[in-house]
Amino acid sequence: MTNAQLEIQIIAALVAVACAIPGTFLVLRKMAMISDAISHSILVGIVLGFFITQDLNSPLLILLAALTGIVTVVMVEYIQKTNLVKEDTAIGLVFPALFSIGVILIAKNANDVHLDIDAVLLGELAFAPFDRLLIGGMDIGPKSLWVIGVILFLTLLLLFLFYKELKLSTFDKGLAATLGFSPVILHYGLMSVSSVTIVGAFDAVGAVLVVALIIAPPATAYLLTDNLKKMLILSSFFGVFAAISGYWMANFLDASIAGSMTTVLGVIFLLVYLFAPRQGVFSVMFKEKQQQVEVSLLVFLLHLQNHTDPKERHVNHLQEHINWGKVKSKTILNLAKKNNFVTIDANIALLTPKGEEFTAEALKYITTNEETAIEGLKKRFFLFRG
């Protein structure tokens, strides 16, 4: 591994972490799409800044571009406040207009600007190591490494300083406001950090893919944990993992680094989406299936409790009476037997004392509208699920 390769990976990993932190809060605050808007509209700021500074890594350019991001947020909020269009339409109107201006500015000045559209959409991570930062003639590393390093440092500093406030205002805006933490300051603080981060990352990974780094790792982490700290750590981890494995994938395929980083993120998300222990598609489907069986079991027990007539309790009669198919009634019957809720005597089902007790209690919870208590009930009776 050459020095340049190592530097690229470090830059990519730093970008990933710097994006994941504000991203976590954006996802939790249901403002994920605002990052899309910012990442597009800062193009105008970058182009204008470039006209002034002639240097893509100049701090002035980053500030100018970040300012454009905040202007975007303000414009979106202003349009939302007029109530002329629905909320998300406001986002969809502002950023394409600003982005168009940026694209046209680049196209019209193609000769003077060393910016091209591909770089805007994809970034130029592969060239990052060639732009060195020289202080007093000494080479202290690639410029973009320093830029993103400083941004990450500031983000982490702000995160540690205002963790409590951010957490509170994210989950309970009302309480945070009553306790005296200004929602406006926190909101715009978060927006500023996001803008600066997006501008810093823009150079490395481009306009659209910075959105992937902001949204995908926190969204993936959110499917795995309920704890904010764990979510921050997990999403940083996913980001770094995607950065490094994405780099090697790009190396192998000889394709865009940013593109393959995003693809790795996509694969991780797909896996978690399908297989996450509690939130994943499969486990949700399994849980739903299980609940169906449980409800059916309860229906069966209630039926037995209600009817003393042997004809009603005849095993074969169940099918037509509760309207279940043959297989389903057999499964439920077996489940009830396994749990010692019923005994079967000459094809007549009879509730055991344990079954009687369970049914009576469940019925009580249902009629008093305390269905949640049934979960505890299931545990007490060691309900065995089929």
Binding site: V27, K30, M31, A32, M33, S35, D36, H40, I79, T82, L84, V85, K86, E87, D88, T89, I91, G92, L93, P96, A97, F99, S100, I101, V103, I104, A107, K108, A110, I117, L121, L122, V208, L209, V211, A212, I214, I215, A216, A219, Y222, L223, L253, D254, A255, S256, A258, G259, S260, M261, T262, T263, L265, G266, F269, Y273, Q279, G280, V281, V284
Partner: protein, 371 residues
Amino acid sequence: MELTDFFTNYTLRTITLGTAVLGAICGMLGSFAVLRKQSLLGDAISHASLPGIALAFIITGVKNDNLILIGALISGLVGTFWIKGIVKRTRLKNDTALGLILSLFFGLGMLLLTFIQKMPNANQAGLDKYLFGQAATLVEEDVWVMATVTGISLIVLLLFWKELKLLLFDPDYTKTLGFNTRFLDILITSFIVLAIVLGLKTVGVVLMSAMLLAPAAAARQWTNNLGIMIVLTSILGAFSGVLGTAISASQDNLSTGPVIVLVAAAFVAISFVFSPGRGLLFREIRIRRNRRELHLRKTLTFMYHIARDHEEISHPHAIKILNNFHGFSRKSLTKLEEQQFIKLNGKEWALTKKGYNEAEAMYNKMGTTHD
């Protein structure tokens, strides 16, 4: 460029027709997207179609526009239904799902595009144009495809007009009436995806969403009637297409997509400010007029109270006793005089008979509504 070029120059005529038809269909379907709060869905779909474009090229190895459109359509639909799946099955919210699919699919698309560039048969120069669109590459066949799709969606729209309208404004009611909302939802979403895919070649992946929602957002300001809104949106969309093409054709180095988007954005801005019913300008004027009216009434009521305690209603009083709190100002006083409610004489004012009656009527009315 002369105006007659539009009718004589083949290429220009094709492009103009193409963007006009595109604007019309986007407007038609965009109205639904905007009213259903799915504005950003268009953004996600257009980005999500990029891997389809690249895959269609990799699999077939030829640059056939229609195959590429089908690839884009499939991957756009996959993206759309995945978004719906994420929102339905997990706790992730709509905005996160949109952003996820948008960026992840686009990233995959970019990976494939850069991969194609390195391929030996890389006659891929044409694939780049899907990013920002290039109306200049439109040929007559494209226009026919667009026109056909527009025709089909128009027929479908007319066939299901009542159901779609109901779904738009009251989905729950639609369901209770027994309509298959799932089918209707899939129907309208599929047509939106189709419209977006059609526009990719002209406007490009990145800006297609604006094409879909800007004309609709503009038209929404002028009417409260769905039928009128759709017609108006189509006209605005077509007009932005034509005007945008004309502007970008008149200069070098101007992609069509961004120019069309800016023209549409200008229409939105104009509508926001100048629409008579909802526009910001007239709203402000109405607010000011109401405020002034209120001040006049307050002053008149105050005068009425004073005049009532005197035998003669037109007994003159000093202007000095009026103050700002009563909504009094030099301007409101002259306004009152203009309406002949009071008479001004030097530093004194006096209520006229007309003014007294007016104030009395107002006062009585206030009494009945408040108590």
